[in-house]
Structure formats: structure tokens, C-alpha cells
């Protein structure tokens, strides 16, 4: 599956369009790690456990979007965008959406 966030796939042409596909996930970290982040919060710096959480969430949202595109018979998703929102403290939603298309290589 090819993913891009531009309107086309470089070096390929679009054969068929299938419309919007999306995937979202809401993730929360366990309470013990929340305490750890709370301490880190006081001294400053990167919150590694939350970064991990964000990476996992992003991957899962993209995976779900790809699954949906695969069911439609697409082999690429173009114009992928990420949208994020915070549901409560310590939980994050990542939403990925794009247009499912079928592409083929340009001959020559």
C-alpha cells in the first residue's frame, strides 16, 4: 500500500477512485506511567512514554485506514492527513484520513 500526502503518486497515474477512508484510535497510558510523566512534567523535557503512545496511536490509525482501503480494492491512499485531539488528560485521539485510489505505473 502506497501512502502519500500529495494529490498524486509520483511516477504513477490514478486509474480509479474509491473516496474517503479513515481510521482513528484513542489511546491512554496506564496510571503508573502517568505518575512518571507527572514527575517529568515538573523538571521539564521530553515525555518518552507519551511519545511512544503517540507513535503507537499514529501507527494504529494508519493501519485501520489501510485496512479499509484494502477492502475497497485500492492499492494506494493519497492526500493523507492527520488530525489530533485530546479527549481527557493522558489520552489522545489520532485520526488519519485520505482518499483511496487505484494506481498503475506510467509506461515508458
Amino acid at each position: 500500500m502506497i501512502l502519500t500526502n500529495i494529490e498524486s503518486v509520483p511516477g504513477m497515474k490514478i486509474k480509479a477512485q474509491f473516496g474517503l477512508v479513515s481510521g482513528s484510535t484513542v489511546r491512554a497510558k496506564n496510571a503508573i506511567k502517568d505518575i512518571g510523566a507527572g514527575l517529568k512534567n515538573m523538571v521539564g523535557g521530553e515525555l518518552k512514554s507519551y511519545t511512544e503512545l503517540l507513535t503507537e496511536a499514529r501507527k494504529e490509525a494508519v493501519d485501520r485506514m489501510q485496512e479499509q482501503a484494502q477492502k475497497m480494492g485500492a492499492n494506494a491512499v493519497i492526500n493523507v492527513r492527520f488530525a489530533t485531539s485530546s479527549v481527557t488528560a493522558g489520552a489522545a485521539e489520532v485520526y488519519a484520513y485520505g482518499t483511496a485510489v487505484q494506481v498503475e505505473k506510467i509506461e515508458g
Partner: protein, 148 residues
């Protein structure tokens, strides 16, 4: 007694916060120099060299969650009263965004160009209670193109 505790807390967090920030900026600058033009990043531009054959296209991203410290928050709360620039928070966001962009670039080291890079920012803590220290989650993403 409470004031003494506050002063101690402010002192400690000022120390740790500034040490962490200084080291982080140093690391960022080093990595930025090491990665210069490898790959080129286009923000919002969707052009690439169409005369060359494209080998692969990939969505790349880098993410980071960064927080301020107690001292920064305290200073910002004071400044909030008078208005003006909140320099303590500006540096946090600056660090976060540069780090996210660097991670995106590092995950696409072999690519020639990253087009249409975008940055998504959100606050993940409870912003309604004014006491809490800001935590920013930042995702940078773009399309990495490798030529043949």
C-alpha cells in the same frame, strides 16, 4: 513554610529545566547540521523533479511529546497577568517542532526529498485547570520521494 517550599521547588525546576533545555538545543543544532539537505524538506510545496524516475514513495512522520517545567509554568502564569510574549513557552514549542521535524527527516534519510511536510500540534493535558504544566504533542509528516 509554604513559601519556602515553593522557592525550593522553583529553584530546583529552574535548574533542571534550563539544563535539559540547553542540552536539547545543543543536540538539535548538531543533528540539524549533520542532516543538512539530507533530504530536502518542502513545507507545503508539492513539487518534485518530475524529469527523474521515482523509485519509491513513502509517508514519513516524526512525533514528540514535550512538556514544560514547573518554573516555566510559574513564570508564564505571572506574565499572563501583564500580557506580552511568553518566551518560556515559545522555547518549548520551538524545541518540540524542531525535534519532530528532525525525527521525520531521520526516518527518511535515504530519500531525496520530502514534499508537503505538515506539522500538527495539540495539547494533551487538562488545559481547563490553569495549574497544570503544558504538554504538547507534535506530529510532523510528509511524503518522502526517492529517485532512481
Amino acid at each position: 513554610m509554604d513559601i519556602l517550599l515553593l522557592i525550593i521547588l522553583l529553584g530546583i525546576t529552574f535548574g533542571t529545566g534550563s539544563i535539559i533545555e540547553k542540552n536539547h538545543f545543543k543536540k538539535i543544532r548538531k543533528r540539524e547540521i549533520a542532516l543538512i539537505k539530507k533530504p530536502i524538506v518542502n513545507f507545503g510545496i508539492k513539487k518534485w523533479d518530475s524529469s527523474r524516475k521515482v523509485k519509491s514513495t513513502k509517508l514519513v512522520s516524526g512525533e514528540v511529546v514535550i512538556s514544560g517545567d514547573y518554573f516555566k509554568n510559574f513564570v508564564a502564569a505571572l506574565k499572563n497577568f501583564f500580557g506580552g510574549r511568553l518566551t518560556t513557552f515559545e522555547s518549548i514549542l520551538d524545541r518540540g517542532r524542531r525535534e519532530a521535524i528532525l525525527r521525520m527527516r531521520e526516518s527518511a534519510k535515504d530519500a531525496n526529498i520530502i514534499v508537503n511536510a505538515r506539522i500538527e500540534t495539540m495539547m494533551i493535558n487538562d488545559t481547563y485547570t490553569g495549574e497544570s504544566v503544558p504538554q504538547c504533542a507534535i506530529i510532523a509528516y510528509g511524503t518522502a520521494i526517492t529517485y532512481e
